[in-house]
């Protein structure tokens, strides 16, 4: 019943399982050692299954032996791919991690292909049957895998083009390409006879154009604004001047629409140069907002005036660790246009002191809203 090979692997499975259980009880149930032993048990069990299923790949007749030892009729390129993967892994270890990771992927992909190819070439003496079994096993992996690789390459190259051109040009390029794809799709769908020839002509051409454009764009680098944004870290806290004036960086891409209206604790509005607050659930105006301590709480800011405004929360001051420097604590929304809104989400761990109470204010507008944290 059990083949010689399967007995060996069943033995390994049992031994590693016992070792894993002992390790978990005696050493540590959740560290890497236990995981490795369980992994070994699962791997050995899988191999035992294979050995049982293939009966140790034994042949029972002379014909089978002839088929199994027949030389493959097709040349295999997978050893070369596998070797390329190995070279990339070595190169990656000496250069950058991404080459190493790609090398591992090529090694795994090439190894799987090579293994299945070798098995399929010897499945029978019939070459077409062998090709069929290979396609049956690998078809489900190759097509989605290849599609994913192509999609990643296309997206990467296209993104290089978008990042290298100006914002306006990028929009136009995007619209043109989308229109061309739509038009071609429409033509292919309506003229079935064109499909095969056109696809074999257009797709390689499009990929070639995209590859050239992407490589050229990548070499020329990203547009100046993006380079500056990356260099200056535009959205870093230190760029939040929180004053009346527009910040060169922080206000660059203000999004004046929010979808969080139902989860706010209070609304602060600027209208006719006055600032007032309303607690959620009530229309009456209040001059103090109380928010729970140490709980992420959201306040909605609405600007009804023509001038751009921002909401600032003043959370007192704090001493910078290991220094005599005292810095202001607080944050703010970006500048908000007329009839638009933004939210501030605050998590405040400690209540204010009597000497330095917390408050909300809008630069350039009279009035403050008290912020009480019990």
């Amino acid at each position: 019943m059990f083949t010689t090979g399967s007995k060996y692997f069943i033995g390994v499975t049992a031994l590693s399982l016992v070792a894993a259980i002992l390790y978990m009880f005696l050493v540590n149930p959740s560290d890497l050692g236990a995981l490795a032993l369980v992994g070994l048990a699962v791997s050995a069990a899988t191999m035992a299954g294979f050995a049982l299923f293939t009966r140790d790949s034994d042949v029972e007749t002379v014909e089978e032996a002839v088929e199994a030892s027949a030389a493959p009729t097709d040349a295999s390129y997978w050893p070369i791919v596998f070797a390329l993967g190995g070279a990339m892994v070595l190169l990656g270890m000496a250069t950058i991690p991404v080459v190493f990771v790609l090398g591992i992927a090529v090694l795994v992909g090439g190894g799987v292909e090579w293994t299945i190819q070798s098995w399929a070439d010897r499945a029978s003496a019939d070459t077409s049957y062998n090709r069929g079994v290979r396609a049956k096993v690998l078809g489900g992996i190759e097509y989605p895998g290849l599609s994913a690789v192509v999609a990643i390459v296309v997206a990467f190259l296209f993104s290089r083009v978008m990042l290298a051109t100006s914002k306006d040009a990028a929009t136009i390029i995007f619209i043109i390409i989308a229109s061309i794809i739509f038009a071609l799709g429409f033509v292919f769908a309506s003229r079935a006879d064109l499909r095969r020839k056109a696809v074999t002509l257009v797709l390689p051409l499009a990929v070639a154009v995209l590859a050239i454009a992407g490589i050229v764009s990548a070499m020329s680098g990203e547009r100046e604004q993006l380079v500056e944004a990356a260099r200056e870290d535009h959205f870093a806290a230190e760029h939040r001047e929180c004053g009346e004036e527009a910040s060169k960086y922080y206000d660059k891409h203000a999004n004046n629409k929010v979808s969080l209206r139902s989860a706010v604790i209070a609304t602060i509005t600027v209208e006719n140069g006055e600032v007032y607050a309303q607690m959620v659930g009530l229309d009456t105006k209040v001059d103090t907002i109380t928010i729970p301590r140490m709980n992420a709480t959201t306040v909605l800011f609405r600007n009804r005036d023509a001038e751009e405004r921002r909401l600032v929360v003043d959370l007192g001051t704090r001493e910078v660790e290991d220094s005599d420097i005292v810095e202001k604590v607080g944050t703010c929304t970006q500048l908000t246009g007329k009839d638009q809104e933004q939210v501030l989400t605050l998590t405040i761990p400690k209540p204010a002191t009597e000497e330095a109470p917390y408050s909300f204010y809008v630069p350039g507008v009279n009035g403050k809203i008290g912020l009480v944290v019990p």
Partner: protein, 405 residues
């Protein structure tokens, strides 16, 4: 005894056992001393739900009984007795139309009343007092925003018992600091989930002064069943007294007393997490607790005026003895305020549970407070940990806590 008799006897035994159990379960629904009974509304919001229930329940009941009776009859009448398979017919337009229209009509009637009730319950524009309710594992915090018209000139933070004026439209603004909880005082309104990062509104109103029990209604972890709450409705005059007392300045115990020693123990052992407003260190600086550094949810109950409450540990335990508790719970609406405002006196203090809690809190309430299992929470507790207090320290602490009124 023949087989038929044995079967009949066996059926009689089963029926004889099940019938009293079913009767007991059914009769339990008639209990009047049931603090979490949705069939005994004590406020306009719960009354609205009850009125809707009184309409929907009979309709649903009649439909349910009809459907089940019909199904049982058909199972019995047409069960396989070896008879020939009857002729098969398909399609009966009149029956199909009737069976579509009748449920649609029933649902329309139920829908009209249900939607009207939902909108009425969501009304908030006539709110008279706002209270923030924050859930965390496994207790509720209540903070009263500044509302000068009610005499609340500084925020009041309490826990365990929600205190509010009777006959007043209270708007609860619910949220959570950790996982989803659900606030439910059955006699006053339906449930409302408290969700981290969101503010959900729930209206409460009690017809008369009294105390109303509740229970977290959303599974929220190990001690979900112990996450209770009590809503205390006081007359407007009594509520004003309660507010004034909560805002009263802190009076430190006289030097040299056991209470003063208890204050020192509290500062050393408890003030890292528990806030007592007005408490100062030896240099005269206010002591601000830092539960955000020690507790996973970032909060621990504020113990200012602790002894004005009747419960502790997420309302799982009473701060008062059974007798004193009964005095408050059983008081008439007229006497209730006076008894409740007495707070916890030395005679009434539930020394047994409070001391046991101080001795080893995790033993009293499951709270993931084992220091060896705090890796997933970066060393922060999900409840009060074991503090290894000596009996001497516990004596001092109890004496000190009794002064927090």
């Amino acid at each position: 005894m023949d087989t038929v008799s044995r079967v009949k006897s066996s059926r009689r035994r089963i029926f004889g056992t099940l019938a009293p159990v079913a009767a007991a379960v059914t009769l339990a629904g008639c209990a009047t001393n049931a603090p979490q009974d949705t069939f005994q509304p004590d406020g306009p919001n719960s009354q609205m739900i009850h009125d809707l229930n009184m309409l929907v329940f009979p309709i649903a009941g009649v439909v349910g009984v009809l459907v089940i009776s019909l199904a049982v009859y058909i199972f019995w009448r047409y069960k396989d007795r070896g008879q020939a398979i009857p002729s098969q017919a398909h399609g009966k337009p009149v029956a199909e139309i009737v069976l579509t229209i009748v449920p649609a009509l029933i649902l329309s009637v139920v829908g009209v009343f249900t939607f009207r009730t939902i909108f009425d319950l969501a009304e908030t524009q006539d709110t008279e007092i706002i209270i923030n309710v924050t859930g965390q594992q496994w207790w509720w915090e209540y903070d009263y925003p500044v509302q000068p018209e009610l005499g609340i000139n500084q925020p009041i933070v309490t826990s365990g018992q929600l205190v509010f004026p009777a006959g007043t439209k209270v708007l609860l603004r619910e949220t959570s600091r950790d996982v989803i909880h659900s606030y439910w005082i059955p006699r006053l309104n339906g449930k409302k989930d408290a969700v981290p990062g969101r503010v959900h509104l729930l209206r409460l109103e009690a017809d008369k002064p009294g105390i109303y029990a509740g229970q977290c209604a959303e599974f929220c972890g190990l001690s979900h069943a112990n996450m209770r709450m009590e809503a205390v409705a006081l007359s407007k005059e009594d509520f004003a007294k309660w507010v004034a007392n909560q805002q009263k300045a802190y009076t430190p115990p006289a030097a040299g007393t056991i209470e003063a020693e208890g204050e020192a123990v509290f500062i050393a052992q408890c003030s890292r997490c528990h806030q007592v407003n007005g408490l100062e260190d030896s240099q005269g600086k206010p002591i601000i607790s830092a539960p955000d550094e020690n507790v996973y949810s970032g909060a621990a109950p504020n113990l200012t005026a602790l002894m004005t409450r009747n419960t502790f540990a997420g309302a799982m335990f009473d701060l008062v003895t059974d007798k004193c508790r009964a005095d408050v719970w059983d008081a008439s609406a007229e006497e209730f305020g006076e008894r409740y405002l007495q707070g916890v006196t030395e005679d009434c203090l539930n020394q047994k549970d409070l001391r046991a809690w101080l001795r080893n809190a995790p033993e009293m309430k499951p709270m993931y407070a084992d220091p060896t299992l705090l890796e997933p929470t970066d060393g922060k507790y999900r409840g009060m940990p074991y503090l290894a207090l000596s009996e001497d320290d516990i004596d001092k602490l109890v004496a000190y806590l009794l002064t927090l009124k």
